[in-house]
């Protein structure tokens, strides 16, 4: 049984013509890192907020650790959340921000102090416990937000475009840091992004979404190399779309401009003589002196 199970989840906002999320089915295993990838407005955040409890699903069920969490209030779910805008409490210093969840949870002072120290070491900001959020850079703020979310030892960690507000260089280093912390703690994670590179490099599995629907779920390699829909093919990676004539579906032979090529895979659902569309990734085409075998 998967750790997190979303079944037929659907969300229609009041006064909205189309559902924000529909037919959403997904199982996330314990310790897995899953990304929701898709263009802006496709329903990633809405789905994440339903898991966190900030939105109620119109229908469908969300089960975490064998328990239906739909009726549970967000502050009782024990789910850590990291926001794009960091959302640090401006009136508290770094240590108090990280310790907030523990304090609310009634932990003792020494216990909080120890855990906050651990967290500061984890994000490599041991020296900055007394700083206020406005005294930190964006990257540092987001690391504090991450530490604050995992300090309470949540069962699940949700991140909504955590790197989008940062500049490119920090984005890359923080991305790796998030992944390594996630591996170290083995915490089940759902990561929302519109950046395919982020999703592909971080995740165990990627959920590609479009207009409220799941287009494809799979490991990054599969998503990149074997997209099952045109949307996935065009949204993920750079592509050249070519019109081709199918020569022999069994061997994968196709013809472009009178030249015969081989796709390297049998072409299912296509008949000889049919016109089809293929998507080419730059870097995958090889040229040889004799013959044009792939």
């Amino acid at each position: 049984m998967a750790f997190l199970e979303l079944t037929n989840v659907r969300k229609v906002f009041p006064n909205a013509q189309t559902p924000a999320v529909e037919d959403f089915n997904l199982n996330v295993n314990a310790g897995e890192f899953v990304s929701f990838l898709g263009p802006s407005g496709c329903g990633k955040t809405t789905t994440l907020r339903m898991i966190a409890g900030f939105e109620t699903a119109t229908s469908g069920s969300i089960v975490m650790d064998g328990r239906d969490i739909t009726p549970i209030r967000p502050n009782q779910r024990n789910i850590g959340m990291v926001f794009q805008s960091y959302a640090l409490f401006p009136n508290m210093n770094v240590a108090d921000n990280i310790g907030f969840g523990l304090k609310v949870g009634g932990k003792s002072k020494p216990e909080i102090k120890e855990r906050v120290g651990e967290m500061l070491a984890l994000i490599k900001l041991e020296e900055l416990g007394n700083r206020y959020p406005y005294q930190l850079s964006g990257g540092q703020q987001q690391r504090v937000a991450l530490a604050r979310a995992i300090a309470i030892r949540p069962q699940l960690l949700l991140l909504d475009e955590p790197l989008s507000a940062l500049d490119a260089k920090i984005r890359l280093s923080l991305r790796n840091e998030i992944r390594s912390i996630q591996r170290q703690l083995g915490i089940t994670t759902v990561y929302v992004t519109h950046d395919q590179e982020e999703a592909l490099s971080l995740s165990d599995r990627v959920v590609v979404m479009n207009r409220g629907l799941i287009e494809q779920v799979g490991p990054p390699f599969e998503i990149y190399n074997f997209p099952t829909t045109e949307f996935v093919a065009s949204f993920v990676g750079t592509l050249n779309l070519l019109k081709v004539k199918v020569i022999d579906p069994a061997t994968g032979a196709i013809q472009v401009d009178g030249q015969t090529f081989f796709t390297g895979r049998p072409l299912v659902n296509h008949a000889a003589g049919e016109t089809a569309q293929i998507a080419l990734r730059p870097g995958i085409v090889q040229s040889r002196q004799h013959g044009a075998r792939r």
Partner: protein
């Protein structure tokens, strides 16, 4: 360019004179109680009247009560509107502006008419007349002051809330296990500090000088005392006016000090 600057300066100076001259005149006048010399004897005589301290104290107590009730009413309301029903904001804002439209005299007669006799709903008595005892009249007075302070208090709190990302901060706190009380007390209110202070000081200034409502509810407040004094004395009211101006300026200086002290960088980072 230069010509515009000249005109601006002249208007500016004219504005300052328009504001400062009467005040300066009042101040000089308040020093002339003893014939031929400038002295503080008007101030001495104003302070010597036990009624001064009595009414001033009364109005201060009323002001503090008003601020407490107003905060309890406005902070959760404005927070909830911002968080859950932002589409109601124009309607709520309109309601809070009503005291500007409805004169205090209308408000106080409405209150007397409604609460001056036992209040019943469909013939069932709900509570007795509020104007029968001093304490219950004070209660009515505070409620009326809460209404008068609404435009200032609501605006101050609402501006403070808009300066932070209420929704995201609330959700961050919720995901960490906090309930509504904790969120309001540990996160929203501390970040509203300067907004609450300016709302409170404005309320204070309004209540301490208020005349109409206190007069018609016949309570021994500072406003009516000042007006009464003006009827049969010349120099003392001027002295008291200067004192209340000084208090207001002190309050404004405090606001400035507190707001300046809490000017911190971006509240919740980039968006």
């Amino acid at each position: 360019m230069r010509k515009v600057a000249w005109v601006a300066w002249i208007i500016y100076i004219f504005g300052i004179l328009y504001f400062v001259l009467p005040l300066f005149g009042t101040f000089i006048f308040s020093l002339q109680k003893s014939r031929g010399v400038l002295s503080l004897s008007a101030y001495q005589s104003a302070f010597a009247d036990p009624k001064f301290l009595e009414t001033f104290l009364f109005s201060n107590v009323m002001a503090v009560c008003t601020i407490i009730v107003s905060l309890l009413l406005v902070v959760p309301t404005a927070y909830w509107v911002q968080l859950r029903v932002p589409s109601w904001r124009p309607a709520v804002e309109f309601v809070t502006l009503l005291p500007f439209v409805i004169p205090a005299i209308v408000l106080v007669f409405g209150l007397i008419k409604t609460f001056g006799r036992p209040v019943t709903i469909f013939g069932v008595p709900v509570f007795p007349a509020l104007t029968t005892s001093a304490l219950s009249t004070d209660f009515l007075l505070v409620m009326a002051y809460v209404v008068l302070s609404l435009p200032y208090m609501y605006r101050a709190v609402d501006n403070g809330l808009r300066a932070m990302d209420v929704r995201v901060l609330t959700e961050a706190a919720q995901s960490l296990g906090a309930g509504w009380g904790t969120i309001l007390w540990r996160i929203i209110i501390p970040n509203l500090r300067s907004a609450l202070l300016s709302g409170a000081l404005l309320t204070f200034a309004i209540v301490v000088g208020e005349l109409t409502i206190a007069t018609f509810l016949a309570r021994p407040a500072f406003g009516p005392y000042l007006a009464l004094l003006g009827n049969h004395k010349a120099y003392e009211p001027a002295a008291l006016t200067i004192i209340s101006f000084a208090l207001t300026w002190l309050a404004m200086g405090l606001i400035d000090l507190v707001t300046r002290g809490s000017k911190r960088g971006p509240l919740t980072g980039a968006h």
